[in-house]
């Protein structure tokens, strides 16, 4: 869990250029981290590569916060 969060954080910092301290479990990608719809698509691609899994478009649409991403990855590993 902690390891997953760290890896997710690294990708978010790199892609969205936000300060790491802002990346908490409750943070919303669009509202708190300044991501637009294109950023979200790209983040999903990065996460798929990083964790070697496939996130369907349907699932991706439901994920809006950092915590939801971590939970999704943990349950699909």
């Amino acid at each position: 869990m902690a390891d997953t969060l760290e890896r997710v954080k690294k990708i978010i910092v790199d892609r969205l250029g936000v300060d790491e301290s802002k990346i908490v479990l409750e943070a919303s990608f669009k509202e708190d981290l300044g991501a637009d719809s294109l950023d979200v698509v790209e983040l999903v691609m990065e996460l798929e590569d990083e964790f070697d899994l496939e996130i369907s478009d349907e699932d991706a649409e439901k994920i809006t916060t950092v915590g939801e991403v971590v939970k999704y990855i943990e349950s699909h590993k």
Binding site: R15, L16, G17, G34, L38, V41, E42, M45, D49
Partner: protein, 439 residues
């Protein structure tokens, strides 16, 4: 003097027949340049750029950005020491192609130079017109590799907005909140001049009061190199990079690719005066023509180029004899330099031998869609400083190129009117004419 550009002066005369001949003269508003910004192989700011040109300094070196082992041409005018973080944040850098980064950087410097403040009050009267000849080539190459290696699901969602050639205009209008007319020229090597000329028209005819205009290009990449090499268009003087771009010289063997951006701030004269802007030069004419001849070769005798210059002179309402200096297209290709010389002689007659002509591409290389932008700046600075930048590497002039090309050394001169030529693949020709500003 009417205040509005759309005021018409209508003279009606009764002809021999009983109907009326209506003569309509549309008043064009005067337009001036109030700021410039440049990213180039000879400097990433306006003064370094200009001083390099006056010193006759070449920006051509061996290519470092990719492995050129298999390419016949191994040299270019690369932009070095460019730090996009000076102009945009990391996230923005990741989602913009290099040509957009150049365009945005040049636009920021130009706006700063002009001290133009884009506010809620004037935003709808400020527009952007920055072209690119090719667009996001590096993005295309990178993402095409991703497509082949990883499949369509891995192609970036930013691929299209990074690729499209209008995105320098888009990014600049977003950056400054400029809500006026925005468009982009794509006319190969005439792009920058078409962008400035079209922006000029938008101000002349009252669609905008100020325009951020020019060109941006970043194509020193394998695909563009391979294509231009196959077309046998580029110099292969790889062992002497600084001597490779040699317009009008017998030893020339093709153009040398450069990259960068040149952006100017155009303003309606009264708008500029009202805010106390520093006026660099007036833009008094713009002409275009098509060769309608061949996709890459110039028309015989420079026919298209000649008609283009004539159209610009007519638009400016000046006689050919009033032109003091021509910033030539002069790309260092065998056919192009001769055709342009023939065109100048056809338009200017005896005066062709009295005016000065130079090609600053001898130093910068050919920035393709950005070339009209940086050469408009060189032309404006020639007026400002009353000095002509040279054509370097002109050691043995081609007998068919027998004009005064300001060989090898900058020269002080009385310069009142400057004409800047650019001609592009597809037979696109564009010329603008600048004049020393007089109140």
């Amino acid at each position: 003097m009417p205040e509005q550009a759309d005021v018409l002066i209508i003279n009606t005369k009764q002809s021999l027949r009983t109907d009326f001949i209506i003569e309509v003269i549309v008043m064009k508003r005067r337009v001036v340049i109030t700021g410039v910004g440049v990213i180039s192989p000879v400097g990433n700011d306006k003064e370094t750029f200009w001083n390099s040109l006056l010193e006759g300094k070449s920006g051509i070196k061996p290519v470092t950005s990719f492995d050129v082992t298999d390419y016949p041409t191994k040299i270019a005018g690369e932009v070095t020491d460019f730090d996009p973080e000076q102009y945009m944040d990391k996230k923005e850098i990741r989602r913009t192609d290099r040509f957009v980064q150049f365009g945005l950087a040049a636009a920021k410097m130009a706006v700063e130079d002009s001290k133009l403040e884009i506010t809620a009050e004037n935003a709808e009267r400020v527009g952007v017109y920055i072209g690119s000849g090719i667009g996001g080539l590096s993005t295309w190459e990178d993402q095409h590799s991703v497509l082949l290696e990883k499949g369509p699901r891995r192609v970036s969602p930013f691929f299209i907005p990074m690729l499209i050639a209008n995105m320098a205009s888009g990014a600049v209008s977003i950056q400054f909140g400029a809500k006026g007319p925005t468009s982009s020229a794509i006319t190969a090597c005439a792009t920058g001049t078409n962008a400035i000329g079209d922006a000029l028209r938008l101000i002349q005819f009252d669609h905008a009061d100020a325009m951020i205009a020019g060109g941006a290009e970043a194509t020193i990449r394998p695909m563009a190199f391979a294509g231009f090499c196959s077309a046998k268009a580029m110099s292969t003087r790889n062992d002497e990079p600084e001597k490779a771009s040699r317009p009008f010289d017998q030893g020339r063997d093709g153009f040398v690719m450069g990259e960068g951006a040149g952006v100017v701030i155009l303003e309606e004269l009264e708008f500029a005066k009202k805010r106390g802007a520093n006026i660099l030069a007036e833009v008094i004419g713009y002409g275009m023509s098509a060769d309608a001849f061949h996709i890459t070769s110039p028309a015989p005798e420079g026919d298209g180029a000649a008609r283009c210059m004539r159209n610009a002179l007519k638009d400016a309402g000046i006689a050919p004899e009033e032109v003091d200096y021509i910033n030539a297209h002069g790309t260092s290709t065998d056919l192009g330099d001769i055709a342009e010389t023939q065109a100048i002689k056809a338009v200017f007659g005896e005066h062709a031998y009295k005016l000065a002509v130079s090609s600053t591409k001898s130093m910068t290389g050919h920035l393709l869609g950005a070339t009209g932008g940086i050469e408009a700046i060189a032309s404006a600075y020639a007026l400002r400083d009353q000095i002509l930048p040279p054509t370097i590497n002109l050691e043995n002039p081609d007998p068919e190129c027998d004009l005064d090309y300001v060989p090898n050394k900058a020269r002080k001169a009385d310069v009142n009117i400057v004409l800047s030529n650019t001609f592009g693949f597809g037979g696109h020709n564009a010329t603008i004419i600048l004049k020393r500003y007089e109140a």
